[in-house]
């Protein structure tokens, strides 16, 4: 069964991810894309730099894909997370899942993105319209009190 997770430096190709999970046994395919949006916490964003502990992030992405494909039997899961400088509307993460039935496909997709956000060592530094930039801490605490 297809289960792959990896980092990429090039734009995420939605069609390629879909093709990778497609198989005659699957009746539903779901592609999730996380994309850079123009506002976060009320501040105007012009772009985001994603960086990662690359070896560990790649291993965690692969582990999550494998766990998802096991947890939801007979599903196919491919995860790609991009690193580098991203512009507005570019995808930072793409998750393609396929399953015989749509209920399971939605469940796999949702579980995978939540797990990714919980444990994959990737960080983002947002660039704001006022020219400043800041590492984002999703927990809501300032990452270190630093604003570079």
């Amino acid at each position: 069964m297809t289960a792959a997770g990896r980092l990429t430096r090039v734009p995420i190709d939605a069609s390629a991810l879909i093709a990778e999970v497609s198989a005659p046994a699957h009746g539903a395919i779901i592609l999730f894309l996380g994309v850079v949006r123009e506002v976060n916490d009320g501040r105007g964003v012009t772009g985001i730099e994603y960086s990662a502990y690359e070896a560990m992030a790649a291993a965690e992405l692969q582990a999550i894909a494998s766990e998802a494909a096991t947890k939801f039997a007979s599903s196919a899961v491919v995860i790609e997370h991009r690193v580098g400088e991203l512009a507005l509307e570019e995808a930072s993460v793409g998750i393609a899942v396929a399953h015989a039935h749509r209920g399971e496909a939605y469940a796999v997709s949702r579980w995978t993105i939540e797990e990714l956000k919980r444990r994959v060592p990737v960080w983002k530094r947002e660039q704001y319209v006022d020219g400043t930039q800041e590492w984002v801490d999703p927990s809501g605490r300032p990452a270190t009190g630093m604003s570079a």
Binding site: Y50, S92, I113, K117
Partner: protein, 80 residues
């Protein structure tokens, strides 16, 4: 023994480098590594209990650290 600790994102900014070398006892744990890092300039900007990975797996403060292990401080993750 001395061990290299990988730093990322805001933690690399705080300590001014992508990695630092610290001295720890031979039978050390993650807690010893953190104590040694506390002595570094800029370490005051780190949270009280930063996450640590040993050999690319999340570790506890009691996890042992041996010569040759890959140790990293992990800022709050923000992927996706």
């Amino acid at each position: 023994m001395s061990i290299n600790v990988l730093l990322f994102a805001s933690y690399a900014d705080a300590l001014g480098a992508p990695s630092i070398c610290v001295d720890i006892p031979a039978d050390a744990t993650v807690a010893d590594v953190l104590a040694a890092i506390r002595l570094q300039p800029g370490a005051g900007l780190l949270p009280a209990k930063p996450l640590v990975a040993v050999n690319q797996k999340y570790a506890r403060s009691t996890t042992s650290v041996k010569h040759g292990d890959e140790v990293a401080l992990i800022p709050p993750v923000a992927g996706g």
